[in-house]
């Protein structure tokens, strides 16, 4: 079940443009990402929710897209905003079986 939450942002440019940034929630129960691949738009966020019973560490080492949310305890939610288009591999540093592909469209 995918949950897409319209969040934020209203930006005015000359009073005519309204942009929305969306959030996509990815859960981590049972040491697996709730989806194996997601497609989002540039500027959208993926919210990583640790609803598992163990600590996770979501990160990417793809050049130009490196990020590391650090140790994420059960019961913590952390958004990651993707500002460049492309296809990126996300993993849990602790549990490398956990892999997620994030495709960011323009």
């Amino acid at each position: 079940m995918r949950s897409i939450t319209a969040a934020l942002v209203i930006a005015f440019a000359g009073g005519s443009v309204v942009a929305f940034a969306a959030e996509r929630s990815i859960r981590q129960k049972g040491k697996v990402f709730s989806e194996s691949a997601v497609t989002i738009r540039k500027g959208d966020a993926v919210v990583f929710v640790n609803d598992d019973s163990v600590t996770h560490n979501v990160m990417s080492t793809d050049p130009g897209n490196e990020f590391n949310i650090g140790s994420q305890a059960p019961g913590v939610s952390t958004p990651v905003t993707f500002d460049k288009s492309g296809e990126f591999t996300i993993m849990c540093a602790i549990h490398p079986r956990m892999k997620l592909t994030v495709k960011v469209n323009n």
Partner: protein, 360 residues
């Protein structure tokens, strides 16, 4: 009520963790991805599982998985076994794969640390290859992504078998009975570095632990394991929480954890230096055939399973990299012994492994 209390405890733990997370919070300017501010969310706690439910998590698989790009064939396994046991795969002609991964020692070597070229001690204990077919990453630090990738590493490593791969291929090519075996197993490519790796990996995938008393109990024979082992199994899945890492039928999550040992080896941290939890982290070993595989841990520093339980009872060194799943368990002597009794039920009645006749 219990669920509510657990939820409150979970909230408190998460809030505490957020404080720590704020310290490592990183905004990567100019990068494609930006980490935002974390928040606490409510997590539903799963109800306590019944013994029957738990047993289902440990059922043996029906078959061995072989990768699509290196499927099983009898010719490959036959060749791979010969290569595995052939000491000519080392520069000095005295070390084979089986020297460190010896079936007589649960496919390890029974030593605290491996021994390589010129009889020099290596940095880590030789891991078993039992159930490697089910692994996701290989070596203690996970630096090999497949068994095929792993197979050639120790052959070429100067400190291990010290035989550069080009020399290995030339050497095998000069042994008259080898090229026809490669031709039979790999008709399109014959003797190449890739075919050596694929043959050895295919043989290694056939090394699977046999049925143990634990398997019979999981499948319904209540007399298959003693009462202390049943208590140990319950502890394994509750207070001791071993299953947080030693999960599934092979008792490993194929993941990386610092369990608080004293040696200076940073393990997985070499490859992920910016991830705090990867310093001193090593891959979780499976527990099948564990009584045949001592001494224990990546550094071979713990001689017995009882001493392993003592380590987890004390919790090891408390440092930032230590896994959040490793805490001082404060086990009673009875609990310690019950956990060991449980692990003893994971040892099967292995048949002796026959040594192959080698090509000349």
């Amino acid at each position: 009520m219990r669920t509510a209390v657990t939820r409150i405890a979970c909230f408190a733990a998460a809030a505490s963790a957020l404080t720590a997370l704020a310290i490592v919070f990183v905004t990567t300017r100019g990068n494609a991805a930006t980490v935002g501010k974390s928040s606490v969310v409510e997590v539903k706690t799963a109800p306590v599982a019944s013994v029957q439910d738990l047993k289902a998590l440990y059922r043996r698989p029906d078959s061995i998985p072989f990768p699509k790009d290196n499927p099983y064939t009898l010719e490959k396994v036959t060749l791979g076994k010969k290569l595995y046991f052939d000491t000519r795969l080392s520069a000095a002609n005295i070390l084979s794969c089986a020297s460190c991964h010896n079936p007589a020692y649960g496919w390890g070597d029974g030593l605290p640390k491996g021994v390589g070229h010129n009889m020099k001690e290596l940095g880590r204990r030789s891991p078993t290859i039992v159930n490697a077919a089910f692994g996701q990453v290989f070596m203690w630090d996970g630096r090999a992504a497949s068994l095929e990738e792993q197979a050639l590493g120790p052959i070429a490593a100067e400190v291990e078998m010290n035989l550069p791969i080009a020399q290995l291929i030339a050497k095998l090519g000069r042994i008259p009975e080898y090229p026809p075996l490669f031709q039979a197993a790999f008709p399109k490519e014959g003797l190449t570095p890739a075919s050596v790796a694929r043959a050895i990996a295919t043989y290694e995938r056939t090394v699977v632990s046999r049925r143990a008393p634990f398997d019979a109990w999981v499948e319904g024979d209540e007399t298959a394991i003693p009462a202390d082992a049943k208590r140990g199994f319950a502890l394994f899945n509750s207070k001791a929480a071993c299953t947080n890492c030693h999960s599934g039928w092979n008792f490993t999550d194929d993941s990386f954890h610092d369990i608080g040992l004293a040696d200076g080896d940073i393990g997985r941290g070499k490859f992920l230096p910016n991830v705090i939890k990867m310093a001193h982290a090593f891959k979780t070993p499976g527990l099948r055939e564990i009584t045949r595989r001592g001494p224990y841990m990546h550094d071979g520093s713990v001689p017995t399973l009882g001493a392993v339980m003592d380590h987890y009872s004390n919790g090891g060194i408390d440092r930032p990299s230590r896994s959040d799943q490793v805490k001082a368990l404060r086990l009673s002597i009875q609990e310690r012994d019950d956990l060991v009794a449980f692990m003893q039920t994971l040892t099967s009645d292995l048949e002796p492994t026959t040594v192959p006749i080698l090509p000349r």
